[in-house]
Symmetry: D2
Subunit: 465 residues, 4 copies
Amino acid sequence: MTKKPVKIVTIGGGSSYTPELVEGFIKRYDELPVKELWLVDIEEGQEKLEIVGNLAKRMVEKAGLPMKIFLTLDREKALPNADFVTTQFRVGLLDARIKDERIPLSHGLIGQETNGLGGMFKGLRTIPVILDIVKDIKKYCPDAWLINFTNPSGMVTEAVLKYTDHTKVVGLCNVPIGMQMSLALMLDVPPEKLRLQIAGLNHHFFATDVFLEGKSVMPEVLEKYIAFSNEYAIKERMAMMKASRENIGKEGHKAEESLSKTPMLMPFSEAFLRGIQAVPCGYMMYYYHTKEMLEMEVEEYKQGNVRAEVVKRTEAELFELYKDEHLNIKPPQLEKRGGAHYSDAACNLIASIYTDKGDIQYVNCKNNGAVTGIDNNSGVEIAAVITADGPKPMAIGTLPPTIRGTIQNIKAFETLVCEAAVTGDKNIAITALNNNPLVPSDTMAAEIFEEMLEAHKRHLPNFFK
Amino acid sequence: MTKKPVKIVTIGGGSSYTPELVEGFIKRYDELPVKELWLVDIEEGQEKLEIVGNLAKRMVEKAGLPMKIFLTLDREKALPNADFVTTQFRVGLLDARIKDERIPLSHGLIGQETNGLGGMFKGLRTIPVILDIVKDIKKYCPDAWLINFTNPSGMVTEAVLKYTDHTKVVGLCNVPIGMQMSLALMLDVPPEKLRLQIAGLNHHFFATDVFLEGKSVMPEVLEKYIAFSNEYAIKERMAMMKASRENIGKEGHKAEESLSKTPMLMPFSEAFLRGIQAVPCGYMMYYYHTKEMLEMEVEEYKQGNVRAEVVKRTEAELFELYKDEHLNIKPPQLEKRGGAHYSDAACNLIASIYTDKGDIQYVNCKNNGAVTGIDNNSGVEIAAVITADGPKPMAIGTLPPTIRGTIQNIKAFETLVCEAAVTGDKNIAITALNNNPLVPSDTMAAEIFEEMLEAHKRHLPNFFK
Amino acid sequence: MTKKPVKIVTIGGGSSYTPELVEGFIKRYDELPVKELWLVDIEEGQEKLEIVGNLAKRMVEKAGLPMKIFLTLDREKALPNADFVTTQFRVGLLDARIKDERIPLSHGLIGQETNGLGGMFKGLRTIPVILDIVKDIKKYCPDAWLINFTNPSGMVTEAVLKYTDHTKVVGLCNVPIGMQMSLALMLDVPPEKLRLQIAGLNHHFFATDVFLEGKSVMPEVLEKYIAFSNEYAIKERMAMMKASRENIGKEGHKAEESLSKTPMLMPFSEAFLRGIQAVPCGYMMYYYHTKEMLEMEVEEYKQGNVRAEVVKRTEAELFELYKDEHLNIKPPQLEKRGGAHYSDAACNLIASIYTDKGDIQYVNCKNNGAVTGIDNNSGVEIAAVITADGPKPMAIGTLPPTIRGTIQNIKAFETLVCEAAVTGDKNIAITALNNNPLVPSDTMAAEIFEEMLEAHKRHLPNFFK
Amino acid sequence: MTKKPVKIVTIGGGSSYTPELVEGFIKRYDELPVKELWLVDIEEGQEKLEIVGNLAKRMVEKAGLPMKIFLTLDREKALPNADFVTTQFRVGLLDARIKDERIPLSHGLIGQETNGLGGMFKGLRTIPVILDIVKDIKKYCPDAWLINFTNPSGMVTEAVLKYTDHTKVVGLCNVPIGMQMSLALMLDVPPEKLRLQIAGLNHHFFATDVFLEGKSVMPEVLEKYIAFSNEYAIKERMAMMKASRENIGKEGHKAEESLSKTPMLMPFSEAFLRGIQAVPCGYMMYYYHTKEMLEMEVEEYKQGNVRAEVVKRTEAELFELYKDEHLNIKPPQLEKRGGAHYSDAACNLIASIYTDKGDIQYVNCKNNGAVTGIDNNSGVEIAAVITADGPKPMAIGTLPPTIRGTIQNIKAFETLVCEAAVTGDKNIAITALNNNPLVPSDTMAAEIFEEMLEAHKRHLPNFFK
């Protein structure tokens, strides 16, 4: 078929991620002819939007492609006739995330930006904004696909599925593709020859099977993973990964270098890996190495180096680079952030929907029975076939008890956070926290909730009606 | 990867379908390098095996391919190291099918060769033989895929899934692909641009969505189907289809000709089509046009023209053609039988498993949660992604009540037939019949069962232990 | 506790059943002190209301109880502060039921007043009226229990559960208690010592276990049932039962007499009974003896003796009796109708809710997971513990495939009828018919639907908006 | 019916609980005529068996009943023709429990004797012994009901349900009845007028509704519970309850006295109680007050006062009392232990099964669909109707997300512990620990497992095959 030109609207267009996205669209222009890319941001982000937007324009010009970049603070102007709306914004910016992490740590608890205390508040801030965007989508471009990268991506997707009638929504995350690359490195095979069977939720899944050219190599994966786990001390490994992620500073470079030679995986006990017969995603260290993780984070807290603080410094450096008027490609420093997978994941997804490609990708979408025991209308993170009608999850049936409990537990947490975000019900929010394995006390849950609520007051209007 | 040569064993190799299969392998040689094709049959089928086998050899020779054809009556000699075992045999040959159809009709009931009285007896005769084959597969080639074309394909697949531990089994049928071609004709688009969402069981499914280049065109399909339904009288249409299917006689030719210009679909009332919002498979006419169907079949019964009788004559003609030593291609007459889809379906499936292609095909496989309400370990007919690890059904969630009841009903029937086949329990078999919508009386169920049991005694040893 | 006086409102108070109900309340006065009984009817029923109402007053007077009987045509006057609202009306009276039975029979199909063609139309007429009554209940007595005896009782209950937020609803039927009495007769034990495990739907259930003083006697029940089945020819038995039910004419008397000595059960084949390991309810003869049933009903149709016609004559006789001013008890002739169980069932249910008795009764209520595979919010007919918080169904888990298919099939039919009744969607109504095993042709479904729709036009306003 | 005399066999007959049980049988003699009570114990328990057995004999003699007490170390001699087998033993006696508690605390983790580290080891020790007992039951008294009081009662019941074909098993616990009494005290109503809807697992359930004379009083319960929670500091309350339970020492007496005037409930935050709309069972303090609980237990650990150590001293005091040859009633000191409910629960259950009473009790039994999302063949703790055919759980449908996650999580833990107990698979055991919210680190799970395995070696033969 001759290809209809594509219009994309990126909400949170001033994000430091945007150059990757632009590069992704440039690389795929033949397959996915993006004619208009609208970068939308809010007033507070205007300066960044312009820096990033100008870089984007230089990139497109250098590539010599007829792709137009539009910058605007007015969502309603951008949306009409959009084919895809991508969302990648932070309500309250990085300062909000700093609070998400520091306040819990000041009480001796892990913040965790997706499925923990911090993640809950990120959800409470983000979901109402997303639902507003969906209202506008229904009004201005009801056939558009909403591709969400904003964390907590699973909850955001679930909120759209449950609280709107816009079914064209997919949540995205780079953790599964990152695992695929790590396992490829571990097996010493090209990543594109691997395929994972993913079971669980955003930032809370297991690979329950690994296929090399379609054939299960799970036994081999497990043996290698066990050998790898036996080689590395947990805390040392944690420190390396932490330093590397979203970090272009010196320390990060060093970590990058040594990490790039080994899989980005966390060690687990041999017994546990043999017991679950699966590969836990990296975020599982919060739940299965809670004690060690907390010790490390408390250290960072004391040094003013919690993740959000590091990221904030990194972002500032990046924007300095972006300002350089001679820069007309994605700066190589960004590449080191590991965001490459993210960009690839996002552009791949859009291209596959656009071309009805039918390849298998890892997404957040409606469960629809694929995982027995999770409500059909809830969201899951899963391997799905990507078609022009959206992702079609491949059924994986009943979860074994080895991984079922924790997935059900976090699913309940997510469900309650979505409800609290929409209703502004404090009781539900505190109950959500009590359901979270990282919160060891009802009393503390209630206390910290009040403190964080106050701290984020401006971005939580539903709780102050 | 360099391709490992493929060994295929075809049980029931003397079937008239074999030349199509051979042609399919020849056409796909580059993708699927079949080096050995073993055609296995039983003593009673030796003559046919030789006729067909010799034609197969001439076909391969003409194609100039290094594919070796082996003919044998000894399964145990054929199986070692097989990559794929295909099954396409009739226990009791066509004479058994003639009884399956004529005995019920002599009592004023439809025989129906898959999900009716006749189908039950076909299942009772076939399942124990398949389970024996699986025992040999476990012994001689435990990694081989069992690709079953033998009807009732759904029950046979379910029996292997439930009563053996060989998980590498796929059941195949040409009805979904036939529907895809008919709808393509109706929409005037190339069939390969369409994709169906299939919900249900073998010979008992609905297309609950139809995608053109990945986008749902269900509303258009329904309108065209309704217009088509309004144009044709049911009985006339039935007669045409019946004459055409598996028929190369004169009458068939004429029907073919006129049918080839219109979709192979059955008319239904506008209200029903709007009510179900789905396309019923052709076999649904047995359940939704029972009365008309019965009237037609009674007529055929009186004329000695029940389907099996027609097919038997057709087969005889075909074998006359096959004997011709100058024939070294699949005879064009066979093409008219519509079997082309069948062969394509079978070879496509094998090729996609072999190459881990990841395309979407319609197969009978383990439900695994894909259809809510059907047991996870039961079989369904469904659109699945075909990988080297077998078919992965795409989850379709809850069936709407418009189609749920009949699917659950036939699923119960199938489950009971499998149980009766394995145990030889007459009570379960008669209960299965009582669950079948084509059997209107417990008394008759019990009576006809006894008569058919006696008629098929030789092939039902489990009932005479 | 001292008992709060009870107010009961009976919608359709002019029904011939009312004297039984009144007798039930009189008998239970100590346990259930009914102080006010409001009999409500419509204008067309005023004459009957007065006849029945006066009889009721004489009965109460004779009993010497302070129970006040009120007669009114104004529902809104009756409802305030009611504790229980019972519904036992016929929209369109018996003439409508005559059409429900005669029109299908004129096309050679069974009408069946609950789960067949006739039953669907009864549902379409009744459900909107019930939903209106529920609106008034919400307004005038939101804490009242709605006890529905109006057929099709299962669908009516489901409609209230799904299309209103009034959760205090129970559907009632006398078939399970009738089966309990028949099995008691068969086992020669007092009925109150038996308890059934009921699985299924209104008029479409099986007893999957039978307990004598709490211990399963299913093996003995099956052997006796098989012996009984072998003793009676189906058609003869059908005729006897038919004559007896709702019949106080001479023929009925004779049938009564001979039937009263044998269980009111229908014969089934030994194989089927052994296969299902359960006792089918009487209405199952429509589905498992369809052919024989149809033959009998066609005969009745020709003679102007379809059930509704017989009942109409019976009712006329009854009202003649009721008019007798000397009559101050429930006339013994009514006793012979078998309605005694009905009245007992209704009064027992009300008394058990009122006193939080905690006994086990057979009711139609929300499934709530009790039967796996039926939606949690759908209705089922089941053994439940009766408390002041309503019936609590005892979980029976997964239905075996021997009975699962037909129950799922009729559940789908019921669900569609409810939807059609509420929406007035013809397509859904015709699809419901196509799902019904008694309707053998889509063409006929569409045709007969139109004819019946026209015939019942006055009572189906939703279809003529 | 005239009552068949009852034979009861109590495995672990030398337990300090036995006098309560004997008293229970004496009190209920009219209803439940126990003619033979066999107290069975192992060699190590012989002395206690004799002390308790002699007390039992004196009690029966004093009551003047024809109940025979038999003492034996030979199970095979006791079992033949038993009607009920009760199990109340501790594999490894209290010394094993001391290890279950002290070893985890030595690593800074809570031991928890049912659903924590200690509970897992109790399960691993107990389940194989129970399965052996079931083998003997199948051999000597296959119709006997197994009434299990041995903790972890939920896992033990599940193990029997899943790993044997003896379906006559009920697990018992006194926590639900204790909650009923506490709520009665809180509402100031007689306990027998209350009824709870229980959702969850043994020692891990919520009351999701509370009925007073059958009518829900949940809103009132919640308000009172919130007021109560606001009145008490958590840690103080914890200390009081702890001191009181299973303690007849001085400290305990004081705690008893003050506690007897207030409900035995733990305080929770108002937000949480409003969020869950349910009453958490006391053991939930381990999961929702983990931090505070741990602090208290560490203190006890240091003082040599972990629960098992206190209980051990208490038991020694009790046996001193039991030895007194003049004692011929249950000593009043025992009454103070709160065990009264336990005994009542056990005897009530046996009596209701024996008499087919049909009352509602709280038991551990097969889920059978009653709680949606828990496997049908898994165990749950639930309100069930007690019949001669055993407990029939009343369906409660879907759990709200507020309580679903933690129940699913502990259910997964229980399932894995059962599997590990039967197979002796260390990997599964360590995976179970990783699934437990009280274990914050995979590394610690693996380490502590090895230490406890070694400590309990003698009683874990399955792990040393």
